[in-house]
């Protein structure tokens, strides 16, 4: 980056810290968990917090901290891959539409976007997972499809004003084609827009994954998931409220963290602000 360090606001640092906390927990869960979440121990059910179980245990006797860490892994993996689908397909489509502005290609891409936008995303995601069977992979695909038009629009909107600049004309005079110009000049210059949008879509993906798991259409047992922890806990909401509160708080904190980070990144990466800083 030409201007070196990115300066975040205090709220941005809080968001970054929350995000880092959950991402760190999810990464740690890949190699180590305090307790195995696959083992049920009814005799140890609904234990209060103790040194062995810092957050207590759930109604099957599983360690809540381990469940939350493993759930973070599921949520983050699903949301991240869904964002990846959106970036991987949406950005090239958006750049293509911008490069061929006003042509039939542009029309097809953008009207296709409108078509996807016209459906309520979560309902269609439920439909897809219900038809093709509930699984983490299908949840990723269902959420990912709705990320494609979002990134296509952001990429096209960011690329259009750049296409009118003289350095694009200079690149054309240098014999470069639209695809090469899109890759060399446009993509790097819309990266900050894409990072901000990816952060926001990531938080929406966490929410969508939780919602799908809540209705039983996300990752299947024994894979831990925040949404299903909520669903399992709801019958005991009066007797064991902490079982619902903890995954709920995890979802809220993760989404809040990502939103704070996204807002702060938008401010920090805004090219107009950045230009004043250099």
């Amino acid at each position: 980056m030409m201007s070196g360090r990115i300066r975040l606001s205090p709220a941005g640092w809080i968001g970054a810290a929350l995000t880092a906390l959950f991402v760190g927990a999810a990464l740690l869960s890949l190699v180590w968990l305090p307790h195995d979440v696959g083992v049920l121990d009814i005799s140890a059910r609904n234990l209060p917090p103790s040194p062995a179980h810092p957050l207590g245990t759930d109604h099957y006797g599983r360690d809540m901290l381990s469940m939350l860490m493993a759930g973070a892994r599921t949520s983050i993996a699903v949301a991240l891959l869904a964002v990846g689908i959106g970036l991987g397909l949406g950005v090239p489509l958006g750049l293509l539409a911008a490069a061929r502005r006003g042509s039939w290609l542009d029309e097809v891409v953008m009207r296709g976007n409108d078509l996807i936008f016209a459906f309520p995303s979560l309902v269609i995601a439920i439909l897809i997972t219900a038809v093709f069977g509930p699984s983490a992979v299908n949840a990723i695909l269902a959420i990912g499809i709705f990320n494609i038009p979002v990134f296509a629009r952001v990429a096209r909107g960011g690329a259009l004003p750049i296409w009118t600049l003289d350095y694009i004309m200079a690149a054309r005079v240098a014999g470069k084609g639209r695809a090469l110009i899109s890759f060399q000049h446009l993509l790097p210059n819309i990266t900050s827009l894409l990072i901000v949008q990816a952060t926001i879509q990531f938080s929406l993906g966490i929410l969508a994954e939780a919602a799908l798991s809540y209705v039983g259409l996300g990752a299947q047992p024994p894979t831990a998931s925040w949404g299903r922890m909520l669903a399992d806990a709801q019958t005991m909401i009066y007797t064991e409220p902490q079982l619902a509160i903890m995954p709920g708080l995890a979802i809220v904190a993760m989404v809040l963290g990502l939103n704070l980070l996204g807002d702060a990144l938008r401010d920090a990466l805004d090219p107009r602000l950045r230009r004043m800083g250099v």
Binding site: M2, L165, D166, Y167, M169, A170, A171, R172, V173, A174, G175, K176, Q184, H185, P188, N189, P271, R275, V278
Partner: protein
């Protein structure tokens, strides 16, 4: 002596710790026109913003700004609202941005009156009258800004500014975005308004020609200070300061001495026509550019010169006629090797480079046409050295350079493939006059050394005269006049060329002529 309407005393300004203005002093009598000239970054716009209480956040001010003897420096925003528009009004460089695109022009002029409690019907009537006054009598008040030309939009801005009959109008580069003939008419309007309404005019401009035409007095700014001020005739006729002399010299570049060019066509257009649907942007244009020659292409916005340029560079097809480069097929029919024989320098020193690319990569981009030669590194360095930069600049990024240096980088990029033809598309138009003079000298020097042929596209006749051997005048997609530069300027054949030449603000070399209207003695 008349009591001054506006008096600025010892004004110093810092913005977030950076000093912007230092000890600025100005006075403006009722009905007087003061020209405030300076290069970009000299602080002239900030002076105007200080005088209207519109300074950006983080600005700290010392000194006094008095309007009718009342100090405005400590005025709360609520009191400013009373003064702005009523006593002090402002117009800006870019009328397109100064007007709200979703409101009619009548509503925008009436708005100034409405917010001061004028009843709707009366505000509408006054708005109509003001629009008539600024020369828009034939334009209905329910038009939207996009339905008007640039000059008409600036007239609407002026109508808004004078709606409440302010006693001071601040005009910040009011004609810089306009064509030269439009500029002349807007300046006439401002001059008439100032005289008829007794309105003082603070005219901020980089163009000494405009000042010579308009101002009673002139103040020259540099680095946040006023380096020289006095009656226009005295300052322009016999400047005291070295800086003013430099500005003056750079503002009227000497015509290029006549040269003999051996006929050897490198770029030719034969009866080129370019249509967009039913609109003919370029109609039956022929031109020939010889090796080592500078050919000027002059015309106002929308005359088709940009379209013609794109056709010559092979970026757009033509419907009729043909383009030839070195006798081979040109335009879109060029081979990649031939495309490297023609290059281009654009106007905007800020938009010409990818902000994320280092200079090395920027300058070497044209090698895409030829394949990267083995001596690429040496040629990049040579190109940079030819334009007065050094190899140490290769790893820097565009934002580390000033406007003039960036234009040198753009020229280096145009030279790196050793082309025969360089298209200079308003290449010096965005530069300050002193920088412009240096870039023009560089271009002339490069031409002499490298035998380059220039197609020099410009709206500025003075600059064309300084560089070009021959000139083409374009209007409405056609070449209306062509000739050797000296002949065309001394004896223009068409009315249009005469109009263009007459509209170009000129700085008289001797004592300037009297203002075209009488003015009461001020002192």
């Amino acid at each position: 002596m008349t009591a001054p309407l506006l008096s600025v005393e010892g004004l110093s300004l810092t913005i977030q710790g950076t000093p912007i203005l230092r000890d600025v002093a100005l006075t403006l009598a009722p009905g007087e026109t003061l020209g405030l000239v300076g290069e970009s970054g000299s602080g002239k716009s900030m002076t105007a913003l200080a005088a209207t209480g519109l300074l950006p956040r983080g600005a700290r001010m010392r000194g006094a700004i008095r309007l009718d003897g009342t100090d405005l420096t400590a005025l709360p925003e609520r009191d400013w609202l009373r003064i702005r528009g009523a006593d002090v009004a402002m117009i800006f460089q870019e009328p397109t941005l100064a007007l709200n695109p979703v409101h009619t022009i009548g509503a925008q002029v009436a708005e100034t009156l409405r917010i001061r409690g004028t009843p709707r019907a009366q505000a509408r009537r006054i708005a109509r009258e003001r629009l008539d006054r600024v020369g828009l009598a034939g334009v209905p008040a329910d038009r939207y800004p996009h339905e008007l030309s640039g000059g008409q939009r600036q007239r609407v801005c002026i109508a808004m500014a004078i709606a409440c009959r302010p006693r001071l109008l601040i005009a910040d580069e009011p004609t810089t975005a306009l064509d030269v003939t439009t500029q002349a008419r807007i300046l006439d309007l401002l001059r008439d308004l100032s005289r008829d309404e007794g309105m003082a005019l603070l005219l901020i401009t980089h163009d000494l020609g405009v000042v010579a035409d308009m101002a009673d007095r002139v103040a020259v700014m540099k680095d946040g200070r006023i380096v020289e001020d006095g009656p226009t005739a005295a300052v322009l006729g016999a400047p005291r300061e070295e800086y003013t002399r430099d500005l003056l010299a750079a503002s009227r570049p000497a015509p290029r001495p006549a040269r003999t060019i051996a006929p050897e066509p490198v770029l030719e257009a034969r009866s080129v026509t370019r249509r967009y649907g039913g609109f003919t942007a370029v109609s039956d244009v022929s031109l020939t550019l010889h090796r080592g020659e500078s050919l000027g292409l002059v015309g106002e916005s929308g005359c088709g010169k940009s379209t013609l340029t794109r056709a010559l560079l092979g970026l757009e097809p033509v419907q009729d006629g043909s383009v030839h480069l070195m006798g081979r097929p040109g335009g879109t029919a060029m081979t990649r090797a031939d495309r490297a024989r023609i290059s281009v320098v654009f106007q905007d020193p800020y938009g010409s480079f990818d902000p994320r690319w280092p200079i090395r990569r920027i300058v070497s981009e044209p090698f895409h046409l030829t394949g990267r030669p083995p001596d690429a590194e040496a040629r990049i360095t040579t190109a940079l050295e030819q334009v007065g930069l050094s190899a140490a600049d290769l790893t820097k990024y565009p934002h580390e350079f000033s406007g003039g240096q960036r234009q040198r980088i753009a020229i280096a990029r145009a030279l790196v493939t050793n082309p025969d033809v360089v298209v200079l598309d308003e290449a010096v138009s965005a530069l300050d006059v002193r920088v412009r003079a240096r870039v023009l000298a560089l271009l002339a020097d490069l031409q002499d050394r490298l035998g380059l042929a220039y197609l020099f596209i410009s709206h500025d006749l003075g600059v064309v005269r300084a560089l070009c051997d021959r000139v083409l005048v374009m209007r409405g997609g056609r070449i209306v006049e062509a000739g050797r530069t000296a002949d065309l300027f001394d004896a223009p054949e068409t009315d249009y060329t005469r109009e263009l030449i007459a509209a170009t603000p000129a700085i008289p070399h001797e004592r300037p002529r009297r203002m075209p209207h009488d003015r009461p003695a001020l002192v």
